[in-house]
Amino acid sequence: MKMIQSRLAFKVPEVKPAVSKEPFRIGKFEVLLDRSKCTACGLCAQVCPTYIGSAIVEYEAFKKPSGILRVTNARAMCEGLVCRKCVESCPTKALTVRINPQYLILGDKRWTADLILSTWEQAESGKPSGRYEYRVGDSGGGFDKIRFDFELEEEVSINEIFEAEDRDTSIVLNRRRDGRPEISIPIPVYSADMSFGSISLRVMVARAIAAKAWNTFTSTGEGGYPNELIPFKDHVITQVATGHFGVNAETVKRARIVCLKYAQGAKPGLGGHLLADKVTPKVAEIREVVPYISLFSPFPFHNVYSVEDHYRHVQLIKDINPKALVSVKVSTPIDVDMVAIGSYYAGANILQVDGGFGGTGAAPDIAKKNIAMPIEYAIPMVHNYLVREGVRDEMVIMASGGIRTAFDVAKIIALGADGAVIGTSELVALGCKRCGNCERGRGCPSGIATTDPALSLLIDPEWGAQRIINMYCSWKKQWNYILSKLGLSSIRELRPKNEVKFRKGRFNHLVHLDHLR
C-alpha cells in the first residue's frame, strides 16, 4: 500500500533547458566560409532548415558593420552532408561543408562520438534530436549487436518515442519479504557509486538533486558522506568499501540502502586508488587522512575471505541499520553465479553485478574491459542460476558497468536484470568528453572528476542536476516507447520469468545481429 502511495505522490520532473556552457559545442559537421568570396547576402541563413532562433549562420551577423559571419553554437545542429542547402544556395560558392575533425576524435568504439553528442542533446533538451545515434555504440559486440525486434522492422522515429503513452517503469528494490521496506523507484535505474575524491562535491550534489527529483538513489562511493548530501539522505546510498573511508555508524544508519562494495567490474581484484594530487585538504579531511598522499583501498575486505564471512558482514550492517536494504556490489568473474547465490544466502536484498565496461579514466587500462566478464554475459548467467535455484524472485539484480543508454537498460532487463546502475552516462550528461584524464594532476578539465577547488566551479549543481534530470526524462520516454512497442504495461514484465536462452539469436524480443540471415 505504501508503495502505491509513494508512486502516486511522485510526479515526473519537468524538462527544463540546460544549455551547454561550452563556448562552442562540438557538432558532427562544420561549415567553412571563404571570407574573400562572401557577400553577406544572407541567403544561406534563410535556407538553413535548423534556423529556428538559431542557425548555422546567425542572421544578425549581416547587420554588423564588419560584415563578418559569426558561427554560433547552433552549428551542433547542422545536418551536414545530407542537407547542403546553404552550400548550394550560396551565389558565390563561399561555403563548404565537412565532417568536424573534433567529431572524428571524440569518443571511442563503445562511447562513440554520436552517443556522447546525443547524450548531451538529451541532457540539454530532454530528447535526442535523431541527428546522432542515441541507442547503441560501435563496439561490434554486446549491446551494440543486440536489437529489439521492432527496431529491425521499421525505423524508430523520435516523434513516435515522444508520443508514446506512459507506462509503468517502476521497480521495487526489496522482494525478500524480510520485514524491511519495499522501496520502489519510478525508473529502473539509480546512479552509481562515485566517491568524493573521484568526483567533485558539486557533481555529487548535482547527482543527488537529480536522484531526489526522480525519487531514486545516488551513492556516496567510498570517500565518505559529505554533509552537503545530508539534505538528500533519503536518496543517497551509503557505500561501505574496503578502505572504509569516511564510513561510520552515522552514515550507515542514515541510509535507506547500504551498499557493500566487494569489487568493481572495471578493476576486479584491485582495490580503489586515489592518487596524491586529488587528495586535497577537503578530501583528506572527510577521509581522515593526510593530504596529498595517494590512498589505496585494499582488495578484498580483510574480514571477508569466504561466504560465511560475507554472511557475517551483511548481518552486521543489518544489525546496525535494521531498516536499511543491503546491496552487494560484485564484479563479474567466471563464477559470478556462485557469488550471487552466496549473497542470497547471506541475506542481501540487492545484488549489483558490475561488468567490465564501466569505470572512469582512473581505473587502470589493463584492468578495464580485460578482467571482468561483459555485463550482458554476466546478467543472464546470474539470472539463470537464481531461476534454477528458485530464488530469483527474492533477489533484485541491478546491472552496471557499461550501460550507456535507455536502450541498454531495456536490453539488460530483457536479459534478466531488474534494473541498472548508471555512472558514466550521468557524467557525460554533465559534459564529460571521455578524455580519460580523470585521475592525473588536478583531474578533469570539465570540472567533473576533479577535487580541484577552481576546476570544480565549472559545474553548477542546479544546472548539472537539470541535465541529469533531462537525460532521464528522455530515457523514460524511450522506455515508454519500448514497452508500448512490445505490448507490455510494466517494465517488470520485460524481465524474463524463466531462464535466458537465445534460440537462433532470438530471445525475449531481442535479436542478435550476427544470427540474422
Binding site: 550507515v252 581522515e288 596529498y292 590512498l295 585494499p298 552486521l316
Partner: protein
C-alpha cells in the same frame, strides 16, 4: 574439458570443530559447539568423523576394530545394496561383521528436510588370493602386503563411487569412509543432526571432527558433497576456497587421480592421501607441500630445511592450494599406532582457526573456527568430568607458512592415553607448568579476608589483599572467598557492584596462584554470572539501582529510574545476530537512557555494541564469550571485555575506548577512525589495517603479521609491548614482539612503537617503513597511554622499562617504526 573441471560446487566458509582427547569422549559433547557455529553454515551440509573408537560399542573384537577396514556405505537408494555388495564386497572381501546403522525413526522430527542416507557398516579384509592377484597385476609384489591391501580398498571404493555416485548423474550409493578404526557420516543438514539422526550421542571416540557446510550450489543438495572427505585412514574438513582448483585437479590427473564429488575439499583430501600414503612424506613435508614457507619466513629457515623445502616447493607448488583455506584432518596413523588431529592454516592466514590445549589428567586438544565453540565444548565436558575445566590452558593461532610454527599443529593420541601437541617442525607445544593441579584440602578460610574486611575495603584494596595471598590458597579457600563475595553481593546494589568489581579484577589481572588459571577463572566467571542473575528483572517504576533484562523480558525494557542505574543484560538466550539480537537490544537500551550496562553470559552472539553512537560517557562491561564484530562501527562508548574477543572486533571503530582483558582475534580495528584500544594479550593478524584519523591502540602482547597495513592515521599510533605473563603472574618479555614479515606495510602516516630492547625486529620485516629511535617527544606522546595501561592491567611502566632487572631509559627500550614517504605515492606527475 571434462565435466570435472567445470561443474564445481562452490563453497567458501564453514564452521568447523575438531577435538582430540586422551580419554574417549562421547558424541553428545559436540552438539553444543556445533549448534553455536550454525551461522557459519547454512544447514545444507553437515558431517562428522570419529577416529579411535570403542570395539565394545561397535560390537566387534579389538582385533577386528584395529585390523579390519571399517567400510561405511551410504545408500541413497536402498535397492542398490544387493548389487553393490554383490559387485564390490562379496567377490573380494572377507566380511567379519556388518550391520545397518540404527537411526531415528523420523528424520523430520529433528528438523531435517532431506532424508539422510541409509548407512551400512562392514568390517572387512581383502581376500588373500584376490590381493595376491591384484599385486601381481599391478606390479606391487615388492610392497608391504598391507599397503597393497590399502590400495585395493582405495581403488575398490573409487570404483564403487564412480558406478553409483556421480555429481552430475545418478546418486545411489557412495563410500562414506573405509579407513581403520574410523567412521565418517554426512547428511544434508547441520552436523549435530548427524549425531542425532544416527544416534551417536553415546558413541565414544578419541578424535572427533564436525563440520557445518555453507554450500551455495545445487537446489537439491546431496550428502556426498558434505565434509569430511576421506583419503584412506584420513578424514579432512576444510574451510575456505581455492583459487586454483583447476590447477590442483590437473596436478592430480597427471597422477591418475580423478575427483568425483567436485568440491575443492575433495581434491584436498585426495592430495593429502597422495602425499602421506602414496609418497609417504612425513607430516612436515606434506604440510610444506600444502602451505609452502615463503618470503622472509623462508629466508629465516635453517639452511638444511631450505634445501629440502625448495625441492618440495618446486615439485608440488601446482598442487598447493592457493587462497583462503584451513584444514582439519583426523587420521588413524596405523603405522605408528597413534590417532592424530591436524590443523593446517594457509600461508596468508586468511581463515580463522583457533587451537587450544587442555592439559592435566585429561588432555584435550581442540581446533575450531571460533574460540567460543572451544569453550562451549570444554564447558559441556567439564559438566560430566570433574578432571576437565571449562577453559583451556592455552589458546593460540597458527602463523601460516611460517618458520616459527609452520602454520600447523598436530595433536597425537597414543594407545596409552597420552596426548601431545606439536607444531609442523615437531616441536612440542608446552603449556606453562603453572601450578600443580593437585588439590590441597588442608588449610581453611583465610582469617584476614572475612566479612568485615570485605565490607571495609574498596574493591582495589580487596583485590590487592587477595592477590597477595591467593598464591598458596587451595581450591577450597578460593571457593570460600567466592562464597563470601557472593553472599556480600546479595546484600544490596552497592555491595553487589563491589563484589562484581573484586571478581572482575580477579578475572582481569594476572597474579601467582597455586590453583591453575583455567580452573580459577571459570569459578570467578560463574560467580559473576550467579550474582548478576540475582538482579531483579526489569519492570516499570522499579527503584533499585540494578535491573536485568533477558530474552524473555526483552520487550519490557523501560527507562532507567536514575542516572546511575545499571542495566544488566543476560545475553544467553539471544540469537547470534539479527533484528532480535543483542545489538538491537543495546541500541534500544541506550535510546531509553541507560548509560551504564553490564552484559554477561555470551555464547558467541555477534555484533554486540555494533553501530552504537553514544558519546556521552557510556560504559559497557562484557562477560562471557562474545562473538565476532563486537563494538564494530561503535562511536563513543567505553567497552570493557573481561576475557578474550574474536574476529573483526572494533571494526570501523570511530571514537571511545575498548579494553580487552585477554586476546583479540583477526582484523582487529580494521578501518578504525579513532578511539583508543587496550589489549592485555595478543593479536592475531591484520590489526588496524586501513585505520585513519586518530585510531590508537596499546597491545601488551604481540601480533602475528600485517599489523597496520595501509595505516593512515596521522594522529594515531600503535604501541606493541611484546610481553606476557608467566605462570607466576610475572611479566616476561616475549622472544620478539613481532614475528611477521610485514609490519606497518604501505602506511602513509602514524607510527608503531615497539618495546624491543634487544632489537629483534629488523628492517626486513618492514615494507615501506623505517625503524627509528624514539625521542623525548615520542615518549611524551606514549607515556600517558602507558600510564593508562598500568591502571587498567596493572602493568607498571617501570616494569616495562626494566630489562633483565635493570631500569633503562625509554629510548633504550622502545623503538619506533614510521612510514617512509614513497616518491611514487606523493609526487605523481607533479614534477617536484
Amino acid at each position: 574439458m571434462t565435466m570435472n573441471s567445470f561443474e564445481r560446487v562452490a563453497e567458501g566458509g564453514c564452521g568447523v570443530i575438531g577435538v582430540a582427547s586422551s580419554i574417549p569422549i562421547k558424541g553428545r559433547f559436540l552438539l553444543r559447539p556445533l549448534v553455536q557455529t550454525h551461522n557459519r553454515g547454512n544447514g545444507k551440509g553437515g558431517g562428522i568423523a570419529a577416529v579411535g573408537l570403542s570395539a565394545e560399542q561397535l560390537g566387534v573384537s579389538k582385533r577386528v576394530l584395529e585390523e579390519c577396514y571399517l567400510v561405511q556405505i551410504a545408500y541413497l537408494d536402498s535397492n542398490v545394496r544387493e548389487d553393490v555388495e554383490a559387485s564390490f564386497i562379496k567377490p573380494f572381501m572377507r566380511v567379519e561383521y556388518f550391520e545397518k546403522l540404527p537411526t531415528l525413526g523420523d528424520y523430520r522430527s529433528i528438523g531435517l528436510e532431506v532424508k539422510p542416507p541409509e548407512v551400512w557398516r562392514y568390517f572387512l579384509r581383502v581376500d588373500e588370493d584376490v590381493l595376491k592377484k591384484f599385486a601381481e597385476d599391478n606390479g606391487m609384489q615388492a610392497l608391504d602386503p598391507r599397503d597393497v591391501e590399502d590400495e585395493f580398498i582405495y581403488r575398490n571404493s573409487f570404483a564403487l563411487n564412480r558406478k553409483h555416485y556421480s555429481s552430475t548423474g545418478l546418486k545411489k550409493a557412495f563410500v562414506l569412509s573405509h579407513g581403520r578404526n574410523m567412521i565418517v557420516l554426512k547428511i544434508v543438514g547441520y552436523a549435530e543432526q548427524v549425531i542425532k539422526y544416527y544416534m551417536l550421542e553415546d558413541l565414544e571416540a578419541h578424535i572427533w571432527i564436525g563440520h557445518q557446510r555453507y554450500p551455495t550450489k545445487g537446489k537439491v543438495w546431496h550428502p556426498g558433497g558434505s565434509h569430511p572427505f576421506i583419503g584412506l585412514n584420513d578424514a579432512l574438513v576444510h574451510n575456505g576456497d581455492f583459487a586454483n582448483y583447476y590447477s590442483i585437479t590437473e596436478y592430480l590427473r597427471q597422477r591418475n587421480i580423478y575427483p568425483l564429488f567436485l568440491t575443492d575439499t575433495e581434491v584436498a583430501a585426495l592430495y593429502w592421501d597422495l602425499l602421506t600414503r602414496i609418497y609417504r612424506y612425513p607430516l612436515e613435508y606434506a604440510i610444506e607441500a600444502l602451505a609452502p614457507t615463503t618470503e622472509r619466513d623462508f629466508a629465516m629457515l635453517p639452511d638444511e630445511k631450505k634445501k629440502i623445502y625448495k625441492v618440495i616447493q618446486a615439485t608440488h607448488i601446482h598442487g598447493s592450494p592457493d587462497g583462503p583455506w584451513f584444514f582439519i584432518i583426523a587420521r588413524n596413523d596405523v603405522r605408528n599406532r597413534v590417532f592424530q588431529l591436524i590443523g593446517i592454516t594457509d600461508t596468508s592466514m586468511l581463515r580463522p582457526q583457533v587451537f587450544a590445549l587442555h592439559d592435566g589428567d585429561v588432555k584435550i586438544g581442540i581446533i575450531a573456527s571460533e574460540r567460543q565453540a572451544i569453550d562451549a565444548m570444554l564447558e559441556e565436558l567439564s559438566k560430566h568430568d570433574e578432571r576437565i575445566h571449562p577453559m583451556a590452558d592455552a589458546y593460540w593461532y597458527a602463523r601460516g607458512g611460517s618458520y616459527t610454527d609452520g602454520g600447523a599443529f598436530i595433536y597425537t593420541v597414543d594407545e596409552y592415553g597420552g596426548l601431545v601437541c606439536t607444531n609442523k617442525f615437531g616441536k612440542r607445544v608446552a603449556v606453562e607448568a603453572s601450578t600443580p593441579r593437585v588439590e590441597f584440602n588442608g588449610g581453611g578460610w583465610r582469617p584476614e579476608i572475612d566479612e568485615k574486611t570485605i565490607k571495609r575495603l574498596g574493591p582495589e584494596e580487596l583485590f590487592k589483599l587477595v592477590s597477595k595471598s591467593i598464591g598458596d590458597w587451595s581450591i577450597r579457600e578460593v571457593v570460600s572467598l567466592i562464597e563470601a563475595l557472593e553472599e556480600h553481593g546479595m546484600k544490596g546494589s552497592e555491595e553487589m557492584l563491589k563484589a562484581i568489581s573484586v571478581l572482575t579484577l580477579l578475572i582481569d589481572r594476572r597474579y601467582p596462584s597455586r590453583v591453575s588459571r583455567n580452573r580459577l577463572i571459570p569459578l570467578f566467571e560463574k560467580a559473576v554470572s550467579k550474582i548478576l542473575s540475582s538482579v531483579p528483572l526489569i519492570e516499570a517504576n522499579f527503584q533499585g539501582r540494578l535491573q536485568r533484562v533477558d530474552w524473555d523480558s526483552r520487550r519490557m525494557l523501560v527507562k532507567p529510574s536514575a542516572a546511575n542505574s545499571v542495566l544488566v543484560i543476560d545475553a544467553h538466550d539471544f540469537p547470534p545476530e539479527g533484528d532480535e539480537g543483542v545489538c538491537n537490544l543495546l541500541e534500544n537500551a541506550y535510546r531509553l537512557g541507560w548509560r551504564r550496562l553490564i552484559a554477561y553470559n555470551f555464547i558467541g552472539q555477534r555484533n554486540f555494541g555494533a553501530g552504537l553512537v553514544a558519546r556521552d560517557g557510556v560504559r559497557i562491561d562484557v562477560y562471557g564469550r562474545p562473538g565476532d564484530c563486537l563494538a564494530a562501527f561503535a562511536d563513543g562508548p567505553e567497552f570493557h571485555v573481561h576475557g578474550s574477543v574474536q574476529d573483526s572486533v572494533a571494526y570501523c571503530f570511530r571514537s571511545g575506548r575498548i579494553v580487552v582483558y585477554g586476546d583479540a582475534g583477526k582484523a582487529f580495528e580494521y578501518g578504525a577512525k579513532g578511539g583508543v584500544a587496550f589489549i592485555l594479550g595478543d593479536l592475531v593478524d591484520r590489526p588496524l589495517i586501513n585505520a585513519v584519523g586518530s585510531a590508537t591502540a596499546v597491545i601488551n602482547g604481540s601480533c602475528m603479521d600485517y599489523m597496520g597495513e595501509s595505516f593512515m592515521a596521522a594522529k594515531g599510533f600503535i604501541i606493541l609491548n611484546g610481553i606476557r605473563f608467566d605462570g607466576k603472574g610475572r611479566l616476561v618479555e616475549k622472544e620478539t614482539p613481532y614475528h611477521g614479515g610485514n609490519l606497518l606495510p604501505l602506511a602513509a602516516a602514524g607510527a608503531v612503537y615497539i618495546r624491543d630492547p634487544r632489537g629483534t625486529v629488523g628492517e626486513d620485516q618492514l615494507n615501506g617503513g623505517r625503524i627509528e629511535s624514539i625521542t623525548g617527544k615520542d615518549w611524551e606522546k606514549i607515556l600517558p597511554l602507558l600510564r593508562e595501561n598500568e591502571k587498567l592491567f596493572g602493568i607498571r611502566v617501570e616494569d616495562l622499562l626494566r630489562v633483565n632487572g635493570v631500569l633503562r631509559m625509554p629510548e633504550e627500550v622502545y623503538r619506533k617504526v614510521v612510514p617512509v614517504q614513497v616518491a611514487a605515492l606523493t609526487r605523481y606527475e607533479r614534477g617536484d
